[in-house]
Amino acid sequence: MVDILLISLHNLHPSYGMLLVYGQVNAGDHALDKNVIELQGVYKSLPDHDILHDINLEVREGEFLTLLGPSGCGKTTLLRLISGFDEPTKGRIFIDNKDVSGLPPHKRHVHTVFQSYALFPHMTVYENVAFGLRCQKVALAEMEARIADVIKMVKLEKYLQRKPSQLSGGQQQRVAIARAAVNRPRVLLLDEPLSSLDYRLRQTMQIELKQLQRKLGITFIFVTHDQEEALSMSDRIVVMQEGCIEQVGTPRQVYEDPQNLNVAKFVGEANIFEGEITHLNGNNQVIVSILGKARPAKSRHHLVSGEKVHVLVRPEDVRVWAPAEIEDAKDMFAGSVEEVIYKGTTVDLMVRLENNKLIAATEFFDEDDDRLEYKMGEKVWVNWTPGWEVILPHEHE
Amino acid sequence: MNMSNPFKFFSLSMVWLWMFIFALLPFCLIVISSFMKHDHLQIFQASVTIDSYKQLNNAVYFHIFEKSFILAGISTLLCLLLGYPFAYVIARMHGPWKNFLLLLVIIPFWTSSLIRSYALIAMIKTKGILNAVLLGLGILHEPMQLLFTNTAVVIGLVYNLLPFMVLPIMTNIERLDTRLVDAARDLGANRFTTFKRVIIPLTAPGIIAGSILVFLPSMTIFYIPDILGGAKSILLGNLIQNQFLVAQNWPMGAAVSVVLSLVLVLLIGFYLWATRGSKNRELLT
């Protein structure tokens, strides 16, 4: 079916065909519309409040999905509902199109990698990995083959006879993953597995985990509160707050096109301006009045003239200019530098605008460019490239 | 609880069954029989009365209670005075010495307390070692009559029960956050004030736990007053033993036991009140 489509598109224009192929490869060699997990109207409630509120989610086969949110947003609870350690108060969960309500964890074909790894301290690496297979009474020959396979994938062949206390944190984590993966679950659930590792190790493990997921071909559902981690590892991100799903999208979508202020503020930094639409120019182009200046902008949302909006500008999109460099400043905002923070690869500036608003600007350090030598209190001009901002309908905070 | 988890079902059943038959039921029997009439022909009859409790109200029994409380109180105090510094020093130690010294404390704890009390006799009797040493050093001019006195009983109680005071206090002090002590010193408190206003209140749970573990047994270990205090030394433990096994007055023995249990409940209640809000309890965790 897809092949026919490809050929016909290719006839229209060669590049269309290429785009379609590229799009398919990127999403993995899997059926794009097959959902391995579906949550419908899921609630988890306590007498006085809801931990999870009306969760509807589809998890696609073979993807690396991240549940991202601050502590207490319900992401771990959601994981536990999927794995079967908790039951939802309302709603249904489907794994492979089967309703799993009431089904105990080991019957669900999903396995969990715990934050503390939870390796059995008195068993060797081999025995830990073999545990699930032994419970299922897998034949010895097959068991040994599968264990050898998965151990090779996590590169722990030399450590089979060691006990967990003799392994490093990163190695323990790989054993935990091997132990879960060797049982060939449909989905692997990982509950903040990298949070107890130090910075460098975490960076390394992020890459390793991503590679491992591709090699294993299993769907991963990954829980974290670290948005950088989510952005760098995921195929899709589910941004959660206070028990609700705020947005589901690819890292790029979530970062560049946040659907509301919560998402915008949690994933990356954002400067938020209050503005009012003054003109609609069609084709998603609008003129918005910010701090008295009329600026052109783009917006996907359906807006009307006079509507109040929030305008989001990421710090790295803000451009800061010394007065000497600018002749015509009518489109720019005047401000003074309040704080200069040198961060190695970037310089962060906190600029106080005329209406007392404080905004953050991140400039990439370029030694040839002495624009970045700002002093505290120095007067500057601030603007950004039109189109790089995000317009959101006004929300009450 | 259905059979989806046979292990849980069988374990819990066995545990509850045992606890019910051998812990709850016997105690109920004590309470019930304390309200029964005593008859020399039958051990007890089934008619409810508070005779036993009324009898407790007379001077003889009252004197026994009073003496038991006083001796137990003195023993507890002595254990506290001797044991607190000891526990403090050991708790603050580090290194291999600490384990060794701890071991030396635990060994007497595991030995039969009867044997240790007997060992005391040789020490404190009139022709015993203690008198010999004191006479030899010239501190005494004639031997002390220690054996078969209240003092001997107190010495015996302290000797046997000191580890029970030391261990809870030591556990408590080990968990003491030394940074609090440092903070107090940093803010200008001298050693005495720090001790009085920071260390004592913080270690109070351990002190109370240790005191409970010493006070109650002091009143009820009947063989210590028996062999060190002689026939005229009757504390609550001896009273109960006597009523049950010699006088065959089980309701009376039960009544005294009930009163003793009430004392226990009061002490536990006090302990719980004093440690309310505390995450680390030495007892009743």
Binding site: S83, P104, H106, F114, A118, F120, H122, F131, G132, C135, A180, N183 | P6, F7, K8, S11, L12, M14, V15, W16, F22, L24, P26, F27, L29, I30, P85, F86, V89, G95, W97, I107, W110, T111, S112, S113, L114, I115, R116, A119, I121, A122, K125, Y159, L162, I212, L216, M219, F222, G237, I240, Q241, L245, G253, S257, L260, S261, L264, I268, L283
Partner: protein, 258 residues
């Protein structure tokens, strides 16, 4: 490492330790003293030990105590271990009550426990002897096993049980393959503790003992009441040495596996 301890501290510690051990050392010394009543040293002798050795009644009582101790310790450890595991792993009706009950049993005066058990046996008309002793000893040992086992259990990462369930293990399997291997040092300590508690128990045994089954502590008690005798010195020294070895053994085993 230990800094140079101050003199008052050292002398204070020494005083306390001397206080603990002097009576015992004197007892041991006198067990070798070649005299019956005198305080003075009359020469070294094994006489009292050989009298001890030849005292048949004492051997019988010792044997009884040993059998009782082994049986009571094993039963108490089994039941106590299951109780500790249930308290640790499961939420069930009356959980907090059971928890409190365990501590109250530990704090309860032995004399009340002894009297109450006597009432129980009288009520069911059980003749006093080995069975009544065994049941009583197991009952007072169980709380100590529970506390020992429980305090070890709470040091585990709770997640390993969820991981095991996740991988398909039944509760029985979790018990045999995961809990037992990890718990056994605490169980050994609990067993040893129960064994010594049973061997040394005087008060509870006094209430529930029968004429047919004499045990050692009660025999010692009646011997002691009739006065100081060198034979008792020898007996106590032997028992002290046995306990000492048991404590050392337990510490060595536990230290290795800690």
């Amino acid at each position: 490492m230990m800094r140079a301890a101050k003199l008052p501290t050292i002398s204070y510690l020494s005083f306390i330790y001397l206080f603990f051990y002097t009576p015992i050392f004197i007892l041991i010394a006198y067990s070798f003293n070649n005299t019956q009543y005198s305080l003075l040293w009359h020469g070294f002798t094994w006489q009292w030990y050989s009298e001890l050795f030849n005292d048949a009644d004492l051997w019988i009582a010792a044997w009884h105590s040993l059998v009782l101790g082994l049986a009571a310790a094993t039963l108490a450890t089994t039941i106590g271990m299951l109780a500790a595991v249930c308290l640790y792993r499961y939420r069930f009706l009356g959980r907090h009550f059971l928890n409190g009950l365990v501590f109250i049993l530990i704090l309860s005066p032995e004399i009340v426990t002894g009297a109450s058990l006597l009432l129980l046996f009288a009520m069911v008309k059980l003749p006093l002897g080995f069975i009544s002793l065994l049941l009583s000893h197991v009952s007072f040992c169980i709380p100590f096993v529970i506390v020992t086992a429980y305090s070890r259990l709470i040091s585990f990462d709770k997640n390993i049980f969820e991981a095991a369930k996740d991988l398909g293990a039944s509760d029985a399997l979790i018990f045999w393959r995961i809990i037992l291997p990890l718990l056994w040092p605490a169980l050994f300590a609990g067993w040893l503790l129960s064994f010594t508690l049973s061997l040394d128990d005087v008060i509870i045994s006094y209430f529930v003992t029968g004429p047919e089954f004499e045990i050692l502590p009660l025999r010692i008690f009646s011997m002691v009441r009739s006065g100081v005798k060198p034979e008792i010195n020898a007996l106590c020294s032997v028992l002290f040495a046995v306990t000492f070895c048991l404590v050392l053994l337990s510490q060595l085993v536990l230290r290795k596996k800690a």
